[in-house]
Subunit: 120 residues, 2 copies
DNA sequence: CTGAATCCAAGAAGATACTG
DNA sequence: CAGTATCTTCTTGGATTCAG
């Protein structure tokens, strides 16, 4: 039962998950990894505009929460791959639902926005 | 078609929507309004912990994007009600999906987290 | 009652330089 | 190649005060 008497506490699973996928690069990373594992450098190129700091930071976060698996090959030079876990795939499907909702309703949102600015 | 070549640009509808529902109080407000219109004061009490500034700020944002309708009754003292639009109800259903995913997968996430800290 | 304005602290994110 | 560390900037959110 979610939200018994119409109050959604601040510290609830939904908030926790939202803070995750709400962070700027998470969706993009999930997106990039959906079709298969990638190396760090490949991710850097695939996720256009991300800095190295944000990339590793986001990956650590995803790893910590069990959405991404880090595979380090003991070679020289170092080779590291990241791949979605089962939970990660599940999450990426959830974000897909959101994306679909977003593209479906975006025209309505934009229309309302221009209506709103017109009134001022 | 979302995301043709595996890149999800920063300025895309999904990001835009995420920035909206990712903001701290949006879900809670949607939640509170789901069962019917509420006045400002009622919202203040329903959304436990919110400040007045964040309440009006969040409402303006929701209004601007067409999720909430502001109904001002020309009375003294002033009486204002907020109610979900059709788009708002649609969005609240989307957040419900997220909430369900969150509660369903939260145990797995927590388990992974404790496993992660154990390794360090 | 409703809500706008201001000031302030904390966190997120970017740029850059450096290590194994 | 992969990752860390530091410094700076910008945004969020909270506390308080004031106005219609």
């Amino acid at each position: 039962m979610l939200d018994s008497d119409n109050t959604c506490n601040t510290d609830c699973p939904p908030r926790d998950v939202l803070d995750l996928i709400g962070s700027k690069w998470v969706i993009m990373i999930l997106c990039c990894l959906k079709s298969g594992p990638l190396r760090t450098g490949e991710l850097m190129r695939a996720a256009t505009g991300i800095s190295q700091k944000m990339l590793t930071q986001t990956l650590r976060d995803l790893e910590y929460n069990g959405f991404v698996e880090r595979i380090s090959h003991p070679e020289v030079p170092p080779r590291v791959e990241y791949r979605l876990t089962g939970l990660g795939h599940s999450l990426s499907e959830l974000t897909l639902v959101m994306q679909q909702w977003a593209v479906a309703n975006y025209p309505a949102i934009l229309a309302q926005r221009s209506r709103a600015v017109g009134q001022n």
